[in-house]
Amino acid sequence: MATVSLRNIKKTYSNGFKAIHNLNLEIEDGEMIVLVGPSGCGKSTSLRMVAGLEATSEGDLYIGDKRVNDLEPSERDIAMVFQNYALYPHMSVARNMGYGLKNQGLPRDEIRRKVEKAARVLEIEHLLDNKPKQLSGGQRQRVAMGRAIVRNPKVFLFDEPLSNLDAKLRVQMRIEIKRLQQEFATTAIYVTHDQVEAMTLADRLVVMNGGKVEQVGPPLDLYEKPETQFVAGFLGSPGMNFMPARIQGQALLVQGDHRIDLPDMAELAQWDGRDITFGVRPEHLEACSEAEADFHLKVDIIEPLGADTLLYGHLPGSDSLMIAEQPGKRRYTRGDVVPLRVDRERLHLFDAETEQRLNE
């Protein structure tokens, strides 16, 4: 059990490509951190640097209070679960799980005992003598986790461990990972590009983009108060609606002429005359009466999901897409014009140029 600190970590590849610009992250003992971002954002590179599979170009990396920059992966007291499981194909499940312990020089019966204990936790005892080839995807994933657990490491590292599983199994294993991590209370770093996985697993979420950290915090904080337009657009499904807007005097004009009154108009005054981006999540657009409407959505496509219905459409006189999420009980047809009202407490304003958040 240990804290992990990344201080001013930079990574530049030999071809000059800067994968990580300046990463600072303090991970607490027993915390589950999820690194999330689009592909190529540097999340995997960061994880591999913690593992020691990739050298850091600059900065200090601590696990516990030990600087581990120059330690071999095996000396860092970490365990890693790979996307493709990386099980040794010619070894039985038991030997796969015990291989690390064997290399540590542990006596055979102790290895056997530890492997069996881990197998019990993961409910794979009956598979111990099988070869990886004979297992299903989910079972292989369990073995890969067993190999990590058995070593009782200070830090678990997960590199997109669920990407190769089908949707149903993914949900199941997600819960399993959460349960195990809480049970063992081991510090964990988890990399994924799937924002649902990220939101559900994380104690704290790190959203990365282009080798930089965009925002760090508890998942709901990031969801409710994204610091940048990127974070706002990345988290949540379907994604946030963005519209060009302008502040004029004390009024907020969205998409040209849609005037939206805010409760705290005084706050807006300081950005008078500035171009901004207005953001609102689909579920914060509420169907309302004509009189209250901020927007009129002309519905092009309807996705009834049961509990909710997604309306895809555009504002009259504009061709930019807008999505609204409505309770599933009401029926819509294509071509409907739905009056919508923006939830005043949950709208987001970003600077059009810097893409930084403006409103509180």
Binding site: G52, P73, S74, F82, N84, Y88, P89, H90, Y99, N103
Partner: protein
């Protein structure tokens, strides 16, 4: 693929049968000839059915009774020479090429690509092409008439290195990374992971290389003058020119059959691995 075109089937069978005859007839003749007396050939017509002399021929050849082979050593001794040569070449080639492929794929060292390409271009330089300089080197090192001279110049193999390289490249990187995290150093990774995964490839290569080594003709002919180092393949040709006008076909064919046997045994025994090593990729 299911097709029902009778004439195509007929053509296919015809081609197959012709192929079998072309391949099979010489073997048939060799087998038949090895069981006849030398007198059966005097008429100039090849006998097409087995004679009575089979066991006797094999005994005479294997023990070189009455110098039937025209040299001072027996066929059994020459087969032993061939066996040593084939084994050393096969095992040597596999050992060297698996290690060099391991180095090329898993280590980052200066001129790694250059090394690979240097190994690769030796494909263009088989023994036959570099035979004079190689002879010079072997002679200067005093390795003429020795097992070392017979085998060492043939051991380096670009083909096998290339095959192992391709196989290693197909193994996911994460396997090597998992082994690193599990505390396995490079040689331990090689021994515990790479070698067991390569078993099928090694077996397939062994079959090919054993036969390659066994069938060597030119090289042993060139560097051996001492009869004790003659190989079985060499002596067949000698027999055809040694006879005083009367070519001893029964003895030649007996020797030929003997020379064919070990490769056949190797192929039969290792057939299963051979096919698997060439076809199947471990997932």
């Amino acid at each position: 693929m299911i097709e029902n075109r009778p004439w195509l089937t007929a053509v296919r069978h015809l081609v197959l049968i012709l192929g079998i005859i072309v391949i099979g007839l010489p073997i048939w003749i060799a087998l038949v000839a090895s069981t006849n007396t030398s007198a059966s050939f005097v008429s100039g017509v090849m006998p097409m059915w087995f004679g009575e002399e089979g066991l006797n021929n094999f005994r005479r050849v294997l023990t070189n009774e009455g110098r039937v082979l025209g040299v001072g050593v027996s066929a059994s001794w020459m087969m032993w020479n061939s066996f040593i040569m084939a084994m050393v070449i096969a095992i040597g080639k596999i050992t060297i090429s698996i290690l060099s492929a391991f180095a090329i794929v898993y280590f980052r060292f200066p001129f790694r690509r250059t090394c690979f390409w240097m190994i690769f271009i030796t494909l263009m330089l088989p023994v036959e092409v570099r035979i004079l300089p190689t002879y010079e080197v072997v002679a200067s090192l005093g390795m003429l008439n020795s097992y070392a001279g017979l085998t060492i110049p043939l051991i380096a193999s670009a083909t096998a290195t290339f095959l192992f390289r391709q196989f290693f490249l197909s193994i996911p990187d994460s396997l090597a990374e998992a082994a690193r995290i599990d505390g396995a150093g490079p040689m331990k990774f090689f021994k515990d992971i790479l070698l067991p995964l390569s078993v099928n490839n090694i077996a397939a290569l062994f079959v090919i290389l054993f036969i390659y080594g066994w069938n060597q003709y030119l090289w042993p002919l060139l560097i051996t003058t001492d009869e004790n180092y003659y190989t079985i393949v060499m002596v067949i040709k000698r027999l055809m020119t040694a006879g005083e006008g009367n070519v001893p076909w029964n003895i030649i064919m007996t020797t030929t059959v003997l020379a064919m046997l070990p490769p056949v045994v190797v192929v039969l025994v290792m057939q299963k691995f051979f096919v698997r090593g060439l076809v199947e990729q471990e997932k």
